[in-house]
Symmetry: C2
Subunit: 356 residues, 2 copies
């Protein structure tokens, strides 16, 4: 049991969004020691309430007053909202764990998957970045391969669900699917193209070199988290008509030869990876298997037929969990366990003023 | 205008299947010089008729008698049916263009995409194999890259539509989608797993090395068609909830440096490739763009960020057309144009007996 002093006052910025809802579910499921609870969102969502541990909380707009009473802000309201509030949050003595891309590549900001590079949280300056959903599930696997046999090159093709684009994108997939099955007109508003019974090889905007921002994120964030700034990585990111769960076909060139059996063994040592890899029984992970689940699922582990020391794998995870909410809460847990955050309530007790 | 002597008597083996229907549409659209027309299928489909050039034809079971009157058999009824009939067809003096995997890797059988290796048809022995759908669209692109800069290594992740698994699989995707949208029970009979709003990283059966047979086909057939038996290729083949159209994320390591612009230019010289690659306008091919179309569409052409001389591309095509029916008919056209097939009607006219 936690001491009451170890409870943190938690704000969720973007509490009514898809990741916000998942943050609430994860906080509940993991019995995170929440003291006060502040669900925050824009004025547009102001009339709503959200339920947390069997109690309804009114959704309010973020304010300095609230942040003064908060220890940790789990932010998932987009880059512009995070950028707008970050200085105020830090000034108020709270830590922001931000799910947007706003600060991820800032050298002063740790970009963390706790199981991979939790040590990077030491000496944080109040801002911590949560990686892109496609990156999180990937680096969990790559880190272990790197320790096992040395990573040389990584080629990733993603199969990303619409929930990565938010609640409206999920509704659009369902609405378009219904329309198509009923011979009605298909309306596209949220996604750049029809997604029902289709694929969209574009996630986020295009950059000058022909990559999308999503692909660039996977490449750059992977290098930062693994602390391998020169790692050769390429990525093609594709949106697929799946509601929840991102999948990745990964080819890794390794320094040293390893067998699929060795890879399977090393990966299965991880407490957050589940190996589903019995092809003879038709066992491999698919997105519907992983939706609502915490682990990173790995299957289809086999020798890469195009390189000396290569391994191919199929990596599937719930993009709203490990790719967002779960990872954010695990960061908060890591901060608590390693004394990298202090509850204001505790500080007050110890006679240190709340804030100026 | 073709001489009447240049007309071929055509049988379609598997005329009621999804590819059979497409074969009929392609023969019509391309004004293939069909003399007599025999739609063939198993007893199960015997009561059906098929429409060809505004005339209804009864579907009959295959027989020696029919094959004696046929010049070319376009076969798309699966490997076991092709194997069962092949000797009889050849004995009867007909050429079989077979869409199954039965003979593709037989060294005596040409495996052909006419635009890539039409020359391999010379000296055929009556059996010609049509490549796997994922292979056909891939080799059209790879051939040009090889000529441009020398292929070293190819890494392919596929996003394959359910029509590759036949008409029943298409119906299953629609039925499952309806059920899920209506909260009803999902039934899975044709596919190995639920495909609606899901992905299945298994196409065909698993082999001992952990690859699926589909993946092995892409690897081996690519080497055979490109006549590069040592080419390094790897593949992950994934079924996606799309009705028609296969997509491929392709990474190519090349011997010599090339720019995306050079690749774009070389590919656009091909009469069967269409470049859709204006990311700034959001222009790239998606499966619904290519369904019912003949070209191989290529987009997302960019430097591979993980290798010296690498190129990434996104290749989309109608798997029922270039991947099956269209390629089969193009093989027949090539045979005609290059005098590699002779019409029995013509032989008779010249006084050579029809058969013994």
């Amino acid at each position: 049991m936690q001491n009451p002093q170890d409870q943190l006052n938690v704000a969720i910025l973007g509490a009514t969004g898809r990741v916000g809802q998942e943050l609430i579910a994860v906080l509940e499921a993991r019995k995170f020691p929440v003291g006060k609870f502040y669900p925050l969102a824009s004025a547009r969502s102001a009339n709503q309430t959200v339920r947390f541990l069997n109690k309804d909380y009114p959704v309010t707009e973020p304010s300095e007053e609230i942040f003064k009473d908060v220890d940790v802000v789990l932010a998932s309201a987009g880059a512009s909202v995070s950028k707008h509030w970050v200085d105020k949050i830090v000034e108020c003595g709270a830590v922001i764990i931000d799910n947007s891309s706003a600060f991820r590549m800032d050298p002063a900001v740790p970009l963390v998957v706790p199981e991979v590079n939790g040590h990077a949280l030491k000496g944080h300056n109040g801002i911590i970045a949560n990686p892109n959903c496609s990156t999180s599930q990937l680096v969990v696997v790559l880190k272990i391969l790197h320790e096992l046999a040395g990573l040389k090159r990584v080629i990733v093709s993603t199969y990303q669900s619409v929930s990565g684009a938010g609640k409206e994108a999920m509704e659009e997939l369902e609405d378009q699917s219904k329309a198509l099955l009923n011979g009605a007109e298909v309306k596209t508003a949220v996604m750049p193209r029809q997604i029902a019974f289709n694929l969209i090889p574009q996630i986020d905007v295009f950059l000058e070199d022909g990559y999308t921002k999503e692909e660039a994120k996977v490449i750059e964030e992977t290098r930062k988290i693994l602390e391998l700034p020169e790692l050769k990585v390429t990525c093609t990111a594709v949106r697929v008509p799946v509601l929840i769960g991102h999948s990745e076909a990964v080819t890794c060139d390794l320094e040293r030869p390893v067998s699929p059996a060795q890879v399977r063994e090393s990966l299965s040592d991880s407490p957050i990876i589940e190996i589903w890899d019995q092809p003879e029984e038709g066992r491999y992970p698919t997105p519907i298997d992983c939706a609502g689940q915490d682990p990173v699922y790995v299957g289809r582990i086999r020798k890469d037929s195009s390189s000396e020391n290569g391994i191919n794998l199929w990596v599937v995870a719930d993009n709203l969990r490990i790719g967002a909410a779960l990872n954010a809460v695990r960061i908060a847990e890591y901060l608590l366990e390693h004394d990298l955050i202090e509850a204001k309530s505790k500080s007050t007790k110890d006679g240190i003023p709340l804030s100026t």
